[in-house]
């Protein structure tokens, strides 16, 4: 009846039990609050069943926030463990729990925070920047989100029921095979990543088609904002990389469930095949994460320098070249496989070549500021911090790309410091910049600038303090994933320093949350009525904040890269007010139901509950057939309604 699920799965150590209890009570509290405020119906109608990309984008942000709290708690626990677990002290965590935590930290941050940021930003910004009212496939967009969100929930479920994988965030076999990981952990990992991955592929197709097909009149590819270009290249990578992940996990699943021998140590299997395949996805994946940050900084730097982006075409080509190269460097993640000098040399050179287009981007941002009117507002501060961190981490990356060096520091903390420089200094700082920059667009409120700056300085200094010691520790021979080390190594002070850095980051994150709260609370003080608080350049700043459901009452026509900037300087004609009926897709609950069934399916497969897997799978297929037998219906918003909304806002621009 319940497969492998027994009462034993609900027993945990103290730390985990506390986390589970607080999570359960938090959930109950939120549900109760919604009942108390009588907001369930509102939540259902306006949000959960919505196909509006702006709403879906905000829901991505909520999931990202929740998952970031989880991933960050993991990180703090890891830092505390390594700061205390020296010599005779064993620290706070048992070895098994420690392994679960580092596996969960990576999985959460990459799949549920990083990917959530990518698709959240794409949902929020892309339709507005290309002057569209909607995305190409609103239904698929919602489905992609719900698969992502439910996979995230599956990872929260794994916290309370059973154990998470102990095989690291990429679950290398043979450790992740049935022989060495017989429990439910790896199965949880497989299904959450598989479900989220399918969601990503679906969303990738949606946004590629959106950008190719839905741009407003006059917006040729060469007049697209760089952010849209970055998402375009990003989605091409998603479409090419994620199927490899799906296939790889599929084979690992067959190994574990049907006793196949793809990646097993015996039976003729080849586990290096898994490592090759997973990095054939994994390397493009890191560029998938960073591209929206590149796009964001291109917008932010141009806006806050009051200057057109320098070297637009070279920016675009740099993106394209990086996207292509990202598929032929995967082997640099395991030079130590020993593929031989020729193979390693090829991948080393290809890796170093990537530094060239990346350098082009860095210089273009610098030249954009040159003779511009630079404003030191907080989105720009994140850019400066990014510039430093990304260059340092990029240079250590080039160092790592030389096989002889890589053999020395492979899997050491040097590597950890390198890629955290990329994902925190790059992806996360880029996201914070984007968050501050576009927050007014979607709420009509400008975030408290003073608190932003406090938070920024905490993050920046905390980051340096937390990760610079790791470079040194790497050189001193500290490997990653250590739950205990000897006092004679002399590593202790540096680990303590790193923990202090993590605490400062934590403080910065608290200020951010408080800043968000205080901005929402003192709404009247932070209100922006213009819809264009930063003197913006691209189309999203020409509509109201928050934008009406149809984005643009009149579909804009553009003839240059910075249409709104030109319009404000009377260099481009203002649109003629000629309203028309607007067709909008109708909300639907099917994506949500399909997501829930996917969650049940993943859970049932993890615990080998046969009947439940079959029932939920049939449910998904039935819903799909149901959807494919209907008609895509549209709501029509009449001219009168549009006029009313637009009149409330005042004149155009």
């Amino acid at each position: 009846m319940f497969g492998n699920l027994t009462w034993e799965a609900f027993r945990h150590d103290t730390i985990q039990s506390m986390a589970v209890i607080s999570m359960v009570f938090g959930g109950i509290g939120i549900a109760a609050l919604l009942f108390y405020l009588k907001r369930w119906k509102w939540l259902w109608k306006e949000w959960l069943t919505s196909v509006d990309p702006k709403r879906i984008g905000i829901m991505y942000m909520v999931v990202v926030l929740v998952m970031f709290c989880k991933g960050f708690s993991d990180a703090l626990l890891l830092r505390m463990q390594q700061a205390f677990s020296v010599g005779d002290s064993q620290g706070l965590l048992e070895p098994g729990h420690f392994q679960e935590i580092f596996s969960a930290h990576g999985t959460t941050m990459i799949f549920f925070v990083g990917m959530g940021i990518v698709f959240g930003l794409a949902n929020l910004i892309v339709p507005l920047q290309i002057g569209a009212r909607d995305v190409a496939y609103p239904f698929l967009n919602a489905l992609g989100f719900w698969l992502f969100a439910m996979a995230a929930i599956l990872s929260l479920v794994s916290l309370g029921i059973g154990h998470f994988s102990t095989a690291g965030w990429l679950a290398y076999p043979p450790l992740s095979g049935l022989e060495y990981s017989p429990g439910e952990g790896v199965d949880y990992w497989i299904w959450m990543v598989q479900i989220a991955g399918v969601g990503s592929t679906i969303s990738g197709i949606n946004f590629l088609a959106t950008i190719l097909k839905m741009r407003c009149p006059g917006m040729t590819l060469k007049k697209m904002p760089i952010f849209v270009w970055s998402i375009l290249c990003c989605m091409v990578m998603v479409i090419f990389a994620f199927p490899i992940l799906t296939a790889t996990l599929y084979m690992l699943t067959l190994d574990r469930y049907l006793g196949m021998h793809f990646f097993t140590a015996g039976g003729g299997g080849n586990f290096m095949m898994y490592v090759n395949l997973i990095w054939a996805w994994g390397h493009p994946e890191v560029y998938i994460l960073i591209f929206p940050a590149f796009g964001t900084f291109s917008e932010v730097v141009a806006t806050f320098s009051e200057k057109r982006i320098f070297g637009y075409l070279s920016m675009v080509w740099a993106l394209i070249i990086i996207a292509v190269l990202s598929f032929i460097v995967w082997l640099h993640h395991f030079f130590t496989m020993g593929a031989g000098p020729e193979v390693n040399a090829f991948f080393a050179v290809m890796t170093m070549v990537i530094a060239i287009p990346t350098g082009v981007k860095i210089f273009n941002w610098l030249f954009t500021k040159f003779r511009g009117r630079v404003h030191f507002s907080s989105p720009m501060l994140w850019f400066f911090a990014f510039l430093l961190n990304f260059t340092v981490a990029g240079m250590t990356g080039v160092l790592l790309s030389a096989p002889p060096v890589d053999y020395q520091v492979h899997n050491s903390l040097f590597l950890i410091a390198h890629f955290h420089g990329m994902v925190i200094g790059g992806v996360l700082f880029g996201f914070f910049s984007a968050f501050t920059y576009w927050f007014p667009k979607f709420t009509g409120l400008v975030l408290d600038e003073k608190l932003n700056k406090y938070a920024f300085w905490c993050w920046f200094s905390g980051f340096l303090l937390a990760f610079m010691p790791l470079y040194m520790l790497g050189f001193m021979g500290a490997t990653r994933r250590l739950n205990h080390y000897d006092a004679t190594t002399g590593w202790h002070p540096l680990f303590v320093l790193a923990a202090v850095g993590a605490l400062i980051i934590f403080f910065g994150a608290c200020i951010q949350v408080y800043g968000l709260y205080s901005t929402l609370k003192n709404r009247s003080k932070h209100r922006d009525r213009t819809g264009d608080p930063w003197n913006g350049r691209t189309l999203e700043w020409s509509t109201a904040s928050p934008p009406p459901i149809y984005n643009f009452a009149i579909i804009p026509t553009v003839n240059q890269l910075d249409p709104v900037w030109a319009m404000k300087r009377d260099e481009a004609p203002r649109p003629v007010c000629h309203y028309e009926d607007i067709h909008l897709p109708i909300n639907t609950a099917i994506p949500l139901y399909m997501g829930i069934l996917a969650l049940i399916f993943g859970f049932a497969m993890t615990w080998h509950i046969g009947w439940l897997s079959i029932v939920s799978f049939i449910g998904i297929v039935t819903l799909l057939i149901l959807r494919l037998s209907g008609h895509d219906e549209h709501d029509v918003m009449t001219v009168a309604e549009v006029k009313k909304i637009e009149a409330a806002r005042g004149s155009y621009g």
Binding site: A209, K213, H261, G268, M273, D581, H583, V621, S629
Partner: protein, 209 residues
């Protein structure tokens, strides 16, 4: 459904009646998106092909492809799938002329050939299992069963889809929606043909050498 649509739909950007904005053309958008989906599916198969290429000598003391495979059955499977594809093509041609019964007739033919393909594949798998050559025996057999079986799974999904399309055409005739769906189903079905040609070449033809 008016006749003018049937003629116009072949013109590159036919205005979709449900959306007034001509540059937001649902027909072109859907087919484009489906091409992209086929691309992703193609990459899944590519991964399985690569794995098969790497592992197909890893027989772990068991039989190799030369001892196991023969060409008669796969050739018959190839013919069945190709004929199914042709029939599906005829069904789509019939939909251009708005001939409901003809569409359903050709779809039934395509379905039968497709079902014959799946039947033959299951027969082959069953034979291997009877002789004790299961996927548990070696990496070669794992990758063989997975590659060929995944294709078979796709064909089976296609058969289910075909049933749904028959029901839709039967109930609604040729509409904007059923026509669009027939076209993308056709793309899917031809795509599976193409994948099978590669399987026939790389797995069976090279396998018996």
């Amino acid at each position: 459904m008016d006749k003018s649509f049937v003629i116009r739909h072949t013109v590159e950007a036919h205005p979709d009646l449900s959306i007034p904005d001509p540059h937001q053309d649902a027909f072109v958008r859907t087919t484009l998106g489906f091409w992209m989906y086929l691309m992703t599916d193609c990459l899944i198969f590519a991964s399985l092909f690569i794995t098969y290429a790497v592992l197909h000598h890893e027989t772990f003391g068991g039989p190799s492809s030369r001892e196991l495979f023969e060409l008669k059955l796969p050739f018959a499977e190839t013919m069945a799938l190709l004929l199914s594809s042709v029939s599906c093509g005829f069904a789509i041609l019939a939909s251009l002329k708005n001939k409901k019964n003809k569409i359903i007739g050709w779809l039934i033919v395509a379905f039968l050939f497709g079902a014959a393909f799946v039947g033959m594949e299951l027969h082959e798998f069953n034979g291997l299992l009877q002789q004790g050559h299961s996927w548990r025996k070696s990496a070669f057999l794992s990758s063989f069963f997975t590659l060929v079986g995944t294709h078979g799974l796709h064909v089976s999904i296609g058969l289910l889809w075909m049933l749904v399309m028959m029901a839709q055409v039967f109930r609604n005739g040729v509409t904007l929606f059923t026509f669009r769906r027939l076209v993308i189903f056709g793309m899917f079905w031809h795509f599976l043909d193409l994948v099978w040609i590669f399987i026939f070449t790389f797995v069976y033809l090279i396998g018996v050498l």
